[in-house]
Amino acid sequence: MPPSNKIIIVEDDFILAKVTHLQLSRLGYDVIGIYSSGEQTLNAIKIQQPDLILMDIQLSGKLDGIQTVEAIQQEFPIPVIYVTGNSDQSTKLRAMNTNCTEYLIKPVDKVDLELAVRKVLTPD
């Protein structure tokens, strides 16, 4: 089992959030919060700082995932993995400019998710 790293999931679809939560829990990670908007995430991040954020791009609030990450990274250098349905190049380029670690396209195979998370949280 990996060390109990703290992960936040930002995903506006309940089922996808729940599935990712269960998959990460089974892998031994500690999901400390699930948020559906960028605004909720920015409030939460001030109180509980995770080791990793899994970030969707299309969110329910005014901020999208990339804008939320930009705001977070101004204060907290927290690693980010985007998990999104947006596979177009322009969105991908915007996301890459926010110093993210991975850009996974939905539907994400659990193995791919595990590999991406491990890449960020497992010390070399």
């Binding site: 089922i15 996808l16 269960l22 349905g85 596979s87 939905k106 539907p107 994400v108």
Partner: protein, 481 residues
């Protein structure tokens, strides 16, 4: 000192008999030599003298034509009043010389255009005694003038009455030189407004500099431009101009410009573009949502599959997940494509294979997959069944072909031929069981392969020799229907 021939009756000089004879002979020969009708009217006696040229123009003299007003009836009715008045005025107002142009009837009944020039000989009190003149037939010249005028009027009409707004401007001063009625009506400026303006004054502010820059090549032949003009009421219109250099009589460098108002056309084009853009966004959103919904179903099945430790129970769920991902990938490719209706099969196959290997194999590197593909572009109606067929064949190979084997390879070849697409998928596995007939096999995988092939009128050939090979030919004609 007077020279011979310099005499004139009105200056009071009294010539000798010899000189008079010389003068008379000269007059006689000159009047014979000319083709003009020379006449001498004596107002006191009422007698009229005519030379031979008269006969040339008017034939024999009739009895009633020996009166001093003989020519009045021969003047064209439209000219008669004017000509008689001008002649009478000249006679009564003490003028020496009179001339006029008018139409005079010839002996054959037709009218000749003539120029009539005459001198009045007056007594010491200024009373006209005689009128001596010559009538020249100028019909040919007049006809040429009329034809020229008619031609000018005709071409003027082409410009003036042309339904297309047109104008002529001076290349050097940029002044409007001429404007037709259609331009006046279309722009709302009067002719005087136009003639007091330069062509830059009807340009939208931002266009003035480019216009001036463009005028540097103003001498070139037929050209076409797209600009914006301002009407008198301030309305800005989009126009297409076609212009041609023309040189007018005094050498002024000008261009003739025809103006086509394309405002409505541009607006319609913009509306079509906007509408198309909106539909593209909508279609993109549909693909995105379909893909997201498939991702949710995939995730739900994934959760359910995780609840089973037994492969027999879990595998059908994993296979269903792969079918869903196969379709989801189509929508992802469509979402990324420019047309939103076609995908690149080569790129799709690469992603499909990567996903399948990841989900079905514990070690992604243990199966070598070689893909050789032409750049085949498939319509969405063909892409989904095609993707599912390939998914099923690959699933079968990964799942069944390599049990107990270390050397594991799959080759995928896609070729675009003249009338069909040819897909060959082969593995180096153990081959099909001898008693296995793929077409009649009661498995979901084979049912999908043959059922979907029937749907797109594709033929499937399966060979089992040192592995298994599926050869699928998909006719293009049916693919595009």
């Amino acid at each position: 000192m007077k020279q011979m021939g310099d005499t004139s009756p009105e200056d009071g000089y009294k010539p000798s008999i010899d000189l008079l004879k010389i003068e008379q002979d000269r007059f006689l020969y000159v009047s014979r030599a000319t083709r003009d009708a020379v006449y001498d009217i004596d107002f006191e006696s009422g007698l009229v003298w005519r030379n031979d040229g008269y006969h040339h123009l008017f034939g024999d003299i009739l009895d009633d034509e020996n009166q001093i007003d003989w020519w009045h009836d021969r003047i064209h009715p439209e000219d008669r009043q004017r000509v008689i008045k001008s002649s009478t005025d000249a006679k009564n107002k003490n003028r020496v010389f009179w001339t006029d142009e008018y139409r005079l009837q010839k002996y054959n009944g037709t009218y000749a255009y003539v120029i009539d020039r005459a001198y009045f000989i007056r007594n010491a009190k200024g009373v006209a005694k005689r009128k001596i003149g010559a009538i020249s037939d100028i019909t040919d010249r007049k006809q040429a003038e009329l034809e020229l005028q008619e031609s000018v009027n005709r071409y003027r009409g082409f410009f003036e009455k042309n339904p297309v707004p047109m104008w002529v401007y001076d290349i050097d001063t940029l002044d409007f030189v001429d404007i037709n009625t259609a331009a006046i009506q279309h722009y709302g400026y009067s002719r005087e407004d136009f003639l007091s303006m330069k062509i830059t004054q009807i340009r939208a502010h931002n266009d003035v500099h480019p216009v001036l820059k463009d005028l540097s090549s103003a001498d070139s032949d037929l050209r076409s431009f797209f600009w914006r003009h301002i009407k008198k009421d301030g309305t800005i219109i989009d126009v297409e101009l076609k212009s041609q250099p023309i040189r007018i009589a005094d050498g002024q460098r000008t261009r003739l410009v025809a103006i086509y108002d394309i405002t409505a056309r541009k607006l319609a084009e913009q509306q079509v573009r906007t509408s198309l853009h909106e539909k593209e966004i909508l279609l993109k959103e549909v693909h995105h949502r379909v893909k997201n919904n498939l991702a949710i179903i995939y995730s739900l099945l994934s959760l359910q599959a995780d609840q089973f430790d037994d492969e027999v129970l879990r595998d059908p769920l994993v296979e269903s997940m792969n079918r869903i991902r196969t379709m989801s990938l189509i929508h992802e490719k469509l979402y990324q494509s420019e047309s939103l209706a076609k995908i690149n099969l080569k790129s799709y196959i690469h992603d499909l294979v990567a996903g399948l290997k990841s989900s079905m194999s514990n070690n992604e590197d243990d199966i070598a997959v070689d893909i050789t593909a032409d750049d085949v572009i498939l319509d969405v109606t063909l892409a989904v069944p095609c993707g599912l067929i390939i998914n099923e064949i690959l699933t079968n190979s990964i799942k069944h072909a390599f049990r107990g084997r270390e050397d594991r390879s799959i080759s995928i070849a896609i070729r675009e031929e003249y009338s069909d697409y040819h897909i060959i998928i082969s593995d180096n596995g153990k081959g099909l069981p001898e008693d296995f007939n793929p077409k009649n096999a009661n498995t979901l995988g084979m049912t999908l392969i043959f059922g979907l092939s029937d749907q797109i009128n594709a033929s499937v050939k399966v060979t089992s020799n040192k592995g298994t090979s599926f050869s699928i030919e998909i006719p293009k004609h049916d693919a595009t229907q």
